[in-house]
Amino acid sequence: MSDNDFTSNEMMTIAASRALKNTDVCFVGIGAPSAACNIARLTHAPDVTLIYESGTIGTAPNVLPLSIGDGELCDTAVTTVSVPEMFRYWLQGGRVTVGFLGAAQIDRFGNINTTVIGDYDAPKTRLPGGGGAPEIASSCGEIFITLKQSRRAMVDKIDFFTSFGHGEGGDHRERLGITTKGPTLMVTDLAVWKPDPVTREFTVVSMHPGVTREMVQAECGWTVRFAEQLEETPAPTGIELKTLRDLNARTKAAHSGGKSGEAA
């Protein structure tokens, strides 16, 4: 067991990693999910299949990729397919059990915006856009989301529906003819959330050690619902923490290496 000497980011990554099973086939979204997925692989789920949208299937990178297409992903993959094949045979083919997404903006129903802040045609901030997310959200068996809480990120109404979670809640997915489960888990730096079985609103089911209801609400733009049986997220174990820190250290060393005389 750990002695609670960990950051909230570490807790987030480790809590998220625990959700993946050894038998899962996971489509790894850009950013935060990558660390969680690889910690799962390096701890309790050594045979989990990690897929990156660059076409790498069954990767086992020794360091976290900076992009979704680093050479390390290909070197360690079972196979690397073309991007059209990735989206046709593997994602749309219904072979992926879990899609793991980050979010720039999210609402209580797990709808995600990574497209624009403000109006689409005259945005305040032009974000990168959806990439694989719109179809990851509909084609994977279920969706896990991980992000750091803030009132800017967790909002009452998102500015753009980059990817569809539970829409307006309830059976909105079914009404659109979507047969997959959609968001079933959200892990933030403060808590673990699951959708209410009926309304599908994300509900806090577990708070990380030392976190209070007030802290969760302070960093969330909607009125937070808490489960009746509210648990405490188990603290990171020593092995989990060491695995994460070693991975981060290897990653940092690798990405600051090859220092360039001139940029870009």
């Binding site: 900076l66 073309s82 959806g130 694989g132 001139e262 940029a263 870009a264």
Partner: protein, 284 residues
């Protein structure tokens, strides 16, 4: 049949202002040298296509070469946003570009349909997503057997596609290895294609099912070692992550950007790429 020529000749003969062009690469093998040559030649008014426009599209947009961008994820992977793209879209500097935005699945299918000579691609996509309401090029078709309604997007058919590859043999057959992205599709979907390569060899020595473009399916080949930098060429040199990180600062300010472009693009030449990857070869 592929013709071997210098990159300035290949760009001059195959890209003109007003063209629809794809400089494709999915993190790996991004054809930076070709895009820089296009900037040097003053090509303007381009409709640029790419799934993952990153640093080099930020540069093309920042110098005002772009009229329209068709894309699915515009970011500096692992670093952040594209500041020249933002400046164009948010503030109209140097001018406001037109945006046609898709998902990765739709773009990948659209390239695939282009390579396959079809006018459109079908996918089970965009369900509940906002893009169909802002992109009139996302439509639907109905399955004539099940009645299911599916998304449809137009095939991508660039006037010219640029890619970077590991090697070509002397007949112009091109080998692409590792993360192959949509490069094969981008070339086969385009009317013309320019391939820069790390080396030209007597024999490709390729696995029978490797990703090979026959020479007769390619328009021009130019030898440009390092031509993907700061992207990478699997087996030749590694990704220059430091340069990607540094770009975020360079692109943050218009003057810094313009100065960098002058020093590193306008006053440079294709041969300079070989130097830029020397320190990255050992890591490959």
């Amino acid at each position: 049949m592929a013709q071997f020529m210098t990159l300035p000749d290949a760009v001059a003969q195959n890209l003109k202002s007003g063209d629809t062009a794809a400089f494709e690469g999915f993190t790996h093998l991004i054809p930076h040298a070709s895009a820089h040559e296009a900037i040097r030649q003053g090509i303007k008014d381009l409709t640029l296509v790419r799934m993952t426009p990153d640093v080099v599209y930020d540069q093309l947009i920042g110098v005002g070469a772009v009229r329209k961008l068709i894309f699915s994820y515009a970011g500096n992977p692992g670093v952040g946003l594209l500041r020249r793209l933002r400046d164009s879209v948010e503030n109209g500097w140097p001018h406001k570009i037109e945006i046609e935005e898709h998902s990765h699945a739709a773009m990948a299918n659209a390239y695939e349909a282009g390579a396959a000579g079809l006018p459109f691609a079908v996918l089970r996509g965009y369900k509940g997503a906002g893009l169909p309401s802002v992109n009139p090029n996302i439509r639907s078709v109905t399955c004539p057997f099940t009645g299911e309604e599916l998304a449809a997007v137009p095939a991508i058919r660039p006037d010219v596609s640029f890619i970077h590859a590991q090697k070509a043999d002397r007949k112009g057959n091109v080998l692409i290895e590792g993360i192959v992205g949509v490069q094969k599709e981008a070339v086969l979907a385009a009317k013309r294609s320019v391939v820069t390569v790390e080396e030209i060899v007597d024999e490709l020595d390729a696995h029978p099912n490797a990703c090979v473009l026959p020479g007769w399916a390619v328009t021009a080949i130019s030898l440009v070692p390092g031509g993907a930098h700061p992207s990478y060429a699997h087996g030749y040199y590694s990704r220059d992550n430091a340069s990607y990180i540094a770009w975020d600062k360079i692109a943050a300010d218009r003057d810094t950007f313009l100065a960098w472009m002058k020093d590193n693009v306008l006053d440079a030449k294709p041969e300079d790429f070989a130097d830029r990857i020397k320190h990255l070869r050992s890591a490959a």
